[in-house]
Symmetry: D2
Subunit: 392 residues, 4 copies
């Protein structure tokens, strides 16, 4: 690995490819990074499409076989933006080749794959090669600030965790089939796609692990019209790395209750059928001394209730998390000039590159992501067993 | 029963007594009722306290034995505002005496009691004597209007139901013991006190019954300081009809998932430990064509998302439910001049008196309330059986 | 005057009569008043209508001539709920007769009338007879609490005052003519009806008087269809004491900037044409150390920004002003169980009766209301003089 | 000018330089532009600082004299990001040299300068050389969509315009002096810096021009500590192109009422002392058939009230302006994945480059910006003349 430059190869170039590459491009423009970033190559099976993507995203070269990308000598880090069914194979190969890995979430489609990946990551870490999973919402300033408040003890002992991830892009029964609805490619539906964020974010925020769940999964619309080729970038329906089918084989909604190992109880819901909600990723934590609440549809805001405020003066504070005191914010704009969805990916790059430069394990590690995977599996097990309580 | 006057006897005079009597007094001031209301007598065990209550609430006479109140010839309707453990005995006696009954919710502390009460109510109805259970939130204009929109098909087929009832008045581990924390008096904790509202409201709104649940109950604080005598009216901690004890024998929080018999899935949470939330009774229903959402902390507002609005122009409408077109509102103030918590009790009186004058069954009937009771019982059963799915 | 009972005579029984009588009836039910309240008589010109009003509002007797009401020996206080053109004559006569007076706002239709009334009130006060003007919004708990915070120095030196009173009930050009649009009866339009609340509330909150203004008045719709007789109570369009005409002779909207004598600057707007706003009475005050903001459409909430909170943790706190620590609230319901528009009138009665029992001047006095009147007049003068700065 | 590439030279590299360069870099990554963008050179007086800026922002070369930049043959467009006192001289020179111009707002520090610039721009346009002023808020999707709704007649005839631009970064009397508080460099204070946005946005949204104003200006803090050298980019206090002084010679707050030539009335306020508000750029327009409202602190949302919705169902719709149907949005992320402040600058580049490629005048033109300047001047004139009504 170059002492001065981090050479990035990306595999997959759809929605997540667009977001990741924006992160790579923007990080050095706003942050003082310890490494230069070079966007060396991008891989995808369709030569024409991957060439267009390289041009649009700013990669210098292309590959039509991801194995070729991994074998390149001029790449230090492999950024995996494919559907979940390819994560394990690619990540294992990349780590084996001595490449750092950034892998989109969820880590894998099965716990078995995730375990193998985590083991490989631990082994690679011993060699100074690091792997990270892309739960990028951790890098939203409002959530990062919530984490800071919780770590400082501002909300006391945690009692309640509440998570909803509500979208509605599938509510129309005639919306087309995509790889995201095909269990083979995606592993699961709303559960793994958006529910995984709830699990990762709440475990990270609270510093507690989910120890058991009782769950219910529902598929409201069991088949979908087969779409033709989709060429667009940035859409949910992109099919760049998966074959669409007519039958929906994943959950449309996942509901579960949970217990955390530190004593908190949790209520969770993930759905793509919650009409009116576009990206309502909502997390709330209530403790003995305070509460924090967040909704991604108002992403620059953290609600903070300080139970130590004098009686009569208590209330949820709408903190506009755009002050220089807030995580990541000093690099951007003046107070009140908010940032958007994509900035989480820039912050992810900042934290990842900083950790690599310091030869530290970036977080979330594959082990962290494996724990999420275990919860996802427990949810599916419980749902398949009449909601029986299922330990993680 | 007098042809012109409805003579009311009330049993219990704490928080619910204050609210019910305000309803009885105010209904004729703002609505054109088919009956005059006479507040004939109020019963309570403490002679001094019940005399003060009669004076404050406007009742003409007092009784220190509820049985004496029921036996009075000059009473047409018995309004039961006691803790739940007395509901069944009083209601059965009152119906037997040919008195109409308004019974606070939840209907009873056990399904068995509730079944007996519902059977008695059905029998009495055949004789023209009617019973109603006081799920007064149904009479909030915003919720009544939501019901109207749903009944008109404005949100289509229902897929998601979401209910939270979040309070925080017990979050302090040193808050005193009350009858509400004593299973003998109250039947259950957050579940029956506030969770029951979630169940009643969502079943009523959707027109669907909950057919099964998976639940988790939690008691965060298992013992409480014993309070001295409390004489105040209107507080949560009133102990007028129960003996306080040191051990908390009820749930502090109840979380459950549910299925409705019309195909919807539900996520529910009731807690008195959700710090920062005072009376966040939140209900949301998502359908194939629209959504409605409500939060009692903003009680004059209904959020309505119309999925048939043109693309680009869709959004949750913040409907200020204070227009003459809205249920109950024309009797009150000009648009935007909102009403409060107590008005639901006035509307309850209006609907009850109107039904009685028309010799119709008022709603919710004891049968409706029995169904809620069965869900409450299923929640407790599931929670006691490792969250196993439990049919209702 | 009876030592134990305050005997009330009310003149006028439309919207304000409904609100005032609800205040008189409810105050003793929830507050421990130093006087019993007796609703002795109500006066109105139409015998049939006033009889119906007496029945509905709970007055024992009626008068068809307000002078007769004032001359009654069994009345201690005259509550004036007529259009503004009658305020002065009635108030002067009542004070002369030794009756306490509660007069709806604005105090009068002209500064001259208001000055005469204030002089009479000062004179009467020397005799132990008191007059108060009904700026009831001061008794909204959230605003009363804001006043408390400001008085405690929590927002520091005041720099900005911002007031909007936005309604839309006249936005339809075919909405009918009413006495409120007739300058002879109402004195002015949006300015005196709702703008007066902005002036009173902000002067009271800040403890500063408006010293000068620059104003603009606008009448968007200059004539209105003549309505037939209106018999309803509680509507804006009530015509009980005025003859409707075809020409709109008042302002539809009033906009002005202001300076306060303590150094703050103010921006104000009152309109009945702000489509979508029903009763958006909004007041915000920014100081050197904090800010408070209020909107009547969310009347149980006070927004409070504490500039002394640690950097990073600052934000407007949404205080649900429903705690026992908050003004007036302990008498009502548990936290989060909000109150409505009418409760301000109950609190007004409480404060008035308490002051009378203690032989103190209730506030706002007629002098306070006269100051509001002077600002209203300055606004009209400035608007008529090309917005020239006009001292108060 | 190259047929395929637009070669950009930027002058100034502080807050606005950071924002503009992000726009130039990002536009081709997300939009299909008709020209390639080349960041050719950036100019600033401090050689070391401008070199660092070039590196950070991605410019290939630097100049320490803006005249040298303008004389370069390899530049097609000059992007002026300096304080206002340099706008005129630079823009005139650039247009004379046949360079297109993008000039930050406000256009100039005086009407005279602005008139000269607008005349030069008209003359240049005849030669195919175009000038645009950077009122970038027009490119916020929510505001662009509001404009579309208004143009489609969805809110009918406009009656009310309401604009507030509230910040608080100067509320601390010890905040340091900057060029923005020096009239020589900045022209005015809150008025020109943020009030100008209110004027431009509301004139553009309504399609009406402000025809007269009555105004009040206030300076709360008349002197400021002199700051040392500031080297940071992106801060309000940057002093790259101006000499800081001790005396504040501009307004801290500007309040004015206005009339629009289409019949609407307006209420405006701009302040940097509104404690608690960080970037509350709020615009509301009420018409005969609907209303729109926007607040930049929630920049992805447009509030839309449709007065043609059925009675009872009306309410402000919270439209999340993140759908493919909305202006600019299809290029970005899926619904609900909001964008931030900087994106307006990207959209500005898209619209500018598209207009240039089509040999069309981009908007806002210098003439549009001159009209804003005339309103700014009228505000100052009125404020200096005891708020006398002042025509524009």
């Amino acid at each position: 690995m170059s002492e001065q430059t981090l050479r990035v190869g990306m595999i997959g170039y759809a929605f997540m490819g667009a977001a990741h590459s924006q992160g790579w491009r923007n990080a050095p423009r706003f942050f003082d990074l310890p490494r230069r970033i070079e966007l060396t190559a991008v891989a995808g099976r369709n030569a024409e499409a991957v060439t267009a993507a390289a041009e649009q995203y700013g990669f210098a070269a292309t590959e039509t076989d991801w194995r070729a990308l991994i074998e390149r000598d001029d790449i230090d880090l492999v950024d995996i933006c494919t559907p979940g069914n390819l994560h394990a194979e690619i990540a294992l190969a990349a780590l084996r080749s001595g490449k750092h890995v950034l892998c989109e979430k969820p880590l894998a489609n099965t716990v078995e794959e995730a375990e193998e990946m985590a083991a490989a990551a631990r082994e690679a870490a011993a060699r100074g090669v690091f792997a990270m999973c892309g739960y990028s919402y951790r890098r939203t300033p409002a959530l990062a600030y919530a984490k800071q408040l919780i770590d400082e003890g501002r909300i006391g002992t945690i009692r309640h965790v509440r998570g909803q991830y509500l979208q509605d892009w599938l509510h129309d029964a005639d919306a087309p089939m995509t790889w995201r609805l095909d269990r083979t490619a995606s592993g699961s539906g709303a559960l793994g796609d958006i529910g995984a964020h709830l699990i990762d974010t709440t475990q990270w925020l609270t510093g507690q692990s989910i120890s058991g769940v009782s769950a219910l999964l529902e598929t409201f619309v069991t088949s979908r019209p087969l779409a033709g080729e989709r060429s667009g970038l940035g859409g949910h329906g992109d099919t760049s790395e998966g074959a669409p089918r007519g039958e929906v084989t994943v959950d449309d909604a996942a509901l579960f209750t949970a217990r955390f190992d530190g004593g908190a109880v949790g209520s969770f819901e993930a759905s793509r059928f919650a009409l009116g909600h576009k990206n309502a990723f909502r997390v709330e934590v209530n403790g003995t001394d305070g509460s924090v609440a967040f909704d991604f549809e108002d992403n620059n805001v953290l609600q903070f209730f300080d139970g130590r405020d004098p009686a009569g003066q208590q209330g949820f504070r709408r903190i506009l998390v755009t002050e220089p005191e807030h995580p990541y914010v000093a690099a951007w704009w003046p107070p009140g000039h908010g940032i958007g969805y994509e900035h989480g990916f820039t912050h992810q790059v900042v934290d990842l590159v900083t950790a690599l430069a310091e030869h530290r394990q970036p977080t979330p590690s594959f082990d962290d992501a494996l724990q999420v995977q275990r919860v996802l599996a427990a949810v599916e097990t419980s749902a398949g067993d009449a909601s029986a309580w299922t330990g993680v």
